[in-house]
């Protein structure tokens, strides 16, 4: 995905390929400028004006259906376009957003209307996708949505306005609203970053529970490695627009194969004192991404070949890849 800037075109998302199964959670980790939020925006059709996007994003019931769609797209490009999210127009998006894919954000007030009662907002979300439901059914479904998000006293809370809820409850309300119309894929962009650690734990447990119960595919975006270890089956690490490591979460975090991932781990504070080492330098601006491996200037293991070309994602282990010549 490319964006025009005064300094020229930049690529916040560069050759990114991912897959997530129903009921699986993929953690997307990166710092500011890694492209993780832009990727989420691209998947939701919320691109900034002027953005150019290429590639495919396919949503299907299961791997078989996705593979079939992919094959059809390859045989008749453009004809089966309806299933490629990146090729949808705004009218088509309105059915997909909320109905098939939903997103929750760091700040619930980006989705919650401050002057509308919570219950009504959820009903509105349901009606947008199922206009033929009777009023009583809509109300019932809204109450179910609140219950699913484990909001205590849902009938009371449904009548309240967002400002009357605590941060944690607002986040639950946003999750309830996102899932109200039954999407199969949920993107959560730093949903717990602004929350206290005890509330964060509750929300992470809730997302985990919902993922299992509803067989949701969950894309969880965060900068916090501890959180990703707790919430994700698999993790993809992004740097300067590219995925530089991907694999089973516990494995990647226990035995990282890319120096940046290792660097992030070493720079993440834990409850053990004295083991903090920062990564020298800083994340490159997208207008000035170094040639070859973008991490090379900061890498303690760099060699001449690192500047020559962008390394491929090499296989480090079973379903564990890393974009580094050392693999």
């Amino acid at each position: 995905m490319e964006l025009p800037t005064p300094a020229g075109w930049v690529r916040p998302v560069n050759e990114v390929s991912l897959h997530i199964d129903a009921g699986e959670s993929l953690g997307l980790v990166g710092e500011s400028g890694s492209g993780k939020t832009m990727l989420a925006m691209a998947l939701m059709g919320l691109l900034p004006p002027g953005a150019r996007v290429e590639g495919e994003a396919l949503l299907g019931k299961d791997r078989k259906e996705v593979a079939e769609v992919k094959e059809k797209n390859a045989r008749e490009p453009g004809v089966a376009g309806g299933k490629n999210l990146l090729a949808l127009n705004e009218r088509q998006w309105r059915a997909v957003r909320g109905g098939q894919i939903a997103m929750v954000f760091q700040e619930p007030m980006t989705s919650l209307n401050p002057v509308m009662r919570i219950g009504r907002q959820i009903e509105e979300a349901i009606r947008a996708h199922e206009s033929r439901l009777a009023a009583g059914d809509v109300k019932r479904r809204a109450a179910e949505a609140l219950g699913r998000a484990a909001i205590p006293e849902p009938q009371v809370r449904a009548e309240q306005f967002p400002h009357q809820l605590s941060g944690g409850l607002r986040q639950r309300a946003m999750i309830a609203m996102a899932l109200a119309a039954g999407p199969r894929f949920l993107i959560a962009d730093e949903p717990t970053t602004a929350l206290d650690v005890t509330v964060q734990k509750q929300i992470l447990d809730l997302l985990d529970h919902l993922r299992r119960e509803l067989r949701l595919a969950l894309l969880f975006i965060t900068h916090d490695l501890g959180v990703v270890r707790q919430v994700a089956d698999r993790v993809a690490v992004m740097y300067a627009g590219r995925i530089i490591e991907e694999g089973p979460a516990r494995q990647v975090l226990a035995s990282p194969r890319h120096p940046y991932t290792q660097g992030l781990l070493n720079a993440s504070p834990t409850l053990e004192r004295g083991k903090l080492s920062p990564i020298p330098g800083s994340v490159p601006q997208l207008t000035a991404v170094p040639p070859g491996c973008a991490f090379e200037p900061r890498c303690s293991l760099r060699r001449a070949e690192c500047v020559a070309a962008v390394p491929d994602l090499r296989v480090a282990d079973q379903s564990h890849t890393a974009r580094c010549v050392l693999v």
């Binding site: 710092e31 500011s32 941060g167 206290d196 650690v197 005890t198 964060q200 734990k201 992470l204 900068h223 916090d224 490695l225 501890g226 959180v227 270890r229 707790q230 975090l253 226990a254 660097g263 992030l264 781990l265 070493n266 720079a267 993440s268 504070p269 834990t270 409850l271 053990e272 004192r273 004295g274 083991k275 903090l276 080492s277 920062p278 990564i279 800083s282 994340v283």
Partner: protein, 270 residues
């Protein structure tokens, strides 16, 4: 081994606010909300005393009271052996020079039209009017260099810098007067992981080099674990546990401390 000299001491500090009321209501209506509910502490020279707690526990109000940015409703506050609450005028200014604050977002309270040179040099202008222009410029440049920024930063404006660089500028501004005490309120909470690690390490280096005493406020136990000699756990305006860092982190006495520790998402040990 230095003798333990108490640099800052607080006894029974209290601060409360009235909530509610509004533009059209009479002054001081609404129920009272107690932000700090009788806090006592004694910070030793050279240590890093951390206050950790969740949002609304009162830690930020407490931090601001310790440097008299906010006036306590009641209690005692001693700094370098003097009664800080009783001081006025030149005497108060003299003590104020010795205590500085580093904020989560250093530029929230600063003029965006001020160049970095003025921002970092301002404390010198206020507290050391006797210094000549060249001397001030030199000290400013040296301080910026010490925090890892080049002389080219002097002429630029805050918005031109990244979060980590802005925090370094905030630190330079706080340290230019060579204070004895620095109160750091969530200094790395808004920063990326690797940038935050750089700032924490910088703070540690500066502490040894300048012989600083830190009061470190944070909501993050892992961050506090890296920096603290002693930790105070705060909830609803009170300290529920205070002790040496190792003890509070690994042998917590209070149930709330245990709850906080249990909620920290863990990483494999290195």
């Amino acid at each position: 081994m230095h003798t333990s000299e108490i640099l800052l001491e607080a006894r029974d500090l209290r601060k409360s606010y009235r909530r509610g009321g509004g533009v059209f209501s009479k002054e001081a209506e609404g129920p009272r909300f107690t932000a700090v509910d009788g806090v006592c502490l004694a910070v030793e020279r050279g240590e890093t005393f951390a206050v950790v707690g969740e949002s609304g526990c009162g830690k930020t109000t407490l931090a601001r009271m310790l440097v008299r940015l906010i006036e306590p409703d009641s209690g005692e506050l001693g700094f370098r052996g003097k009664d800080l609450l009783a001081l006025r005028g030149a005497e108060l200014r003299a003590e104020r020079r010795q205590m500085q604050m580093v904020f989560q977002d250093p530029f929230a309270s600063l003029d965006p039209r001020m160049r970095v040179a003025e921002m970092v040099g301002e404390p010198l202008a206020i507290h050391h009017p006797e210094l000549g222009k060249t001397e001030k410029q030199e000290r400013t440049r040296a301080m910026l260099e010490r925090v890892g920024l080049g002389a080219d930063a002097l002429k630029r404006y805050p918005h031109e810098f990244s979060g980590g660089q802005r925090q370094r500028i905030g630190i330079a501004r706080a340290l230019i007067l060579r204070p004895k005490l620095v109160v750091a309120d969530e200094p790395v909470s808004a920063l990326d992981v690797s940038v935050g690690a750089q700032v924490l390490l910088l703070l540690q280096e500066l502490q040894s080099e300048f012989g600083l005493t830190y009061i470190f406020i944070s909501h993050s136990l892992p961050v506090v674990a890296q920096m603290a000699t002693r930790i105070a756990v705060m909830r609803a305006g009170k300290f529920v546990e205070v002790g040496p860092a190792e003890q509070v982190l690994h042998l917590p006495a209070h149930a709330y401390t245990r709850e906080l520790l249990a909620a920290v998402p863990s990483l494999p040990s290195r």
